[in-house]
Amino acid sequence: MSTVAHAQPAAEGAGPPQPPTEEQALGYACRGVTVSMPGPRGKRAILSALDFEVEPGEIVMVVGRSGTGKTTLLRVLGGLVPASAGTVLLGGQVVSGPPASAVTVFQDYAHALLPWRSVRRNVALGLEGRRDCSRVERDQRVARALEVVGLAARADDRPWRLSGGMQQRVQIARALALQPRVLLMDEPFGALDAMTKASLQDQLLEVHGRTATTIVFVTHDIDEAVYLGDRVVVIDGQPGSITQEIPVDLPRPRDQLATKERPEFLELRRRVYDAVGGVHGG
């Protein structure tokens, strides 16, 4: 919690509370989503007949062993990979190409940021060239996003001068500046140390609490999945399919210590662990 207070001096104190997002959050509906890609020996199925929904404003955590297609699923939701069969609907609209209302945050922040641009101009990237966003508004949204992730003081640095955790916060700020209705996060904290990870998790929950953005979050960290999620979706097999959906009814706001000490947390953790590890899980 201390990190949140540190990141948010202006918003908590002087500034007016942020207006709720003017538009409603969006949800996903996936029907029979199958993805196959060309491999060395002909087409290889990566995901097979996925049926699932993501409620508006929900945090859905996708876990599974490596090679089960978690990242591919996120890329399908983000419109970066077309489904070979089945349909993906976002807010009732068929996803064909990256939707305007969703932003993907990648794991490899070092390659996702533009090294020749300052932190500020990296965060502005998604807002540039948009007719619906004036220069003044753009500057405001960028400044706000940088404040949310606690990087206002580093706005003029090049991203590669920042630590890994800070670089990932730049990428998150870049996503937040767009005020997306859907955040798609692909193991965003996977390469970070435990302390940085915990503080970014809390920042993410704090942002979610204020904006009710829909979040689909891929991770291989079971603690993270239970700590952040409203629901944990387990993918297993090759091709991957959903083997279990585990609702997480832990109270919010969550706390790194108190939440993780609750018996329900431990029980959920065990269930997810079994579901991921058990070959016949589900």
């Binding site: 970066l80 990256p98 993907t104 390659h111 090294p115 990237l125 998604g126 090049r158 590669w160």
Partner: protein, 258 residues
């Protein structure tokens, strides 16, 4: 490397001074006695009188102007074609083989052809020099664009950039270090080929001066013209580096991928 040109490279300067001094000494002492090898002092004298008469200066201005125009044409065409071939599959499929063949043909072989087609003119010089300068720019731009991480293309896709914006905002800046390598190579090529075109084609500029002075048996002035060509090459390269580090310093910072 480019940010601060070290004006005084002591050991490097010493080498040059030694060589020129040895040359001067060899001619003065009669150690080397060739009819048409002038001493450096004579070359300097010829250069000074050539400059004061305006002859050398106007020839240099012609060569410089042709090289620059040719290089600018090559830069525009080469970068555009390089980006197109790297990013657009139909262009890659249809053009790669032709590029590989054409860029290996010795450009000097084209000069007589260009003379036939365009005539003995400045246009011919520009055409041939631009042709030569285009290939290193095209090939390096293509290589630079090919090397842009796939992730950056996905970032551009997530932000729903149009193809043109993607090229301008993401692809070209990411490829800039290699584009610059191509631009520098292209600039040298433009100067070299301009001089060659003047020697065997259009009677103008420094290249023609050299041929004319050779036939007039004036080796001192000839050497002076060669020295001016060398200075042009060094000056153009330094100017290009200074310009790029000034206009877009972070584009070329060596540590930017750290």
């Amino acid at each position: 490397m480019a940010a601060r040109l070290r004006w005084l490279n002591l050991s490097g300067a010493l080498t040059m001074i030694t060589v020129v001094g040895a040359w001067q000494l060899a001619v003065d002492t009669g150690l080397v006695d060739l009819d048409y090898l002038p001493a450096p002092s004579e070359v300097a004298q010829a250069g000074a009188s050539g400059l004061s008469s305006g002859e050398l200066g106007s020839a240099a201005a012609h060569t410089l102007a042709v090289s620059l125009v040719a290089w600018l044409i090559a830069l525009v065409v080469g970068v555009a074609a390089g980006v197109l071939i790297a990013l657009w599959r139909p262009a890659r499929v249809t053009l790669t083989a032709s590029v590989e063949i054409l860029r290996t043909l010795p450009v000097v072989a084209f000069v007589p052809i260009a003379v036939l087609i365009v005539g003995l003119s400045t246009t011919m010089e520009i055409a041939v020099a631009a042709w030569a300068a285009m290939w290193p720019i095209l090939v390096n731009t293509r290589g630079g664009v090919d090397a842009v991480p796939a992730r950056l293309h996905e970032v551009a896709a997530v932000f729903r950039m149009t193809a043109l914006r993607r090229v301008r905002v993401v692809v070209l800046p990411a490829a800039a270090p290699l584009v610059l390598v191509g631009a520098r190579l292209g600039l040298s090529f433009a100067l070299i080929v301009t001089v060659v075109a003047e020697m065997i084609g259009n009677p103008a500029g420094l290249g023609y001066q050299i041929v004319r002075l050779q036939q007039a048996l004036r080796p001192d002035e000839m050497f002076a013209a060669v020295v001016v060509i060398g200075l042009l090459g060094i000056g153009l390269n330094a100017a290009l580096l200074a310009l790029t580090t000034r206009v877009a310093p972070d584009m070329f910072e060596p540590g930017r991928r750290a």
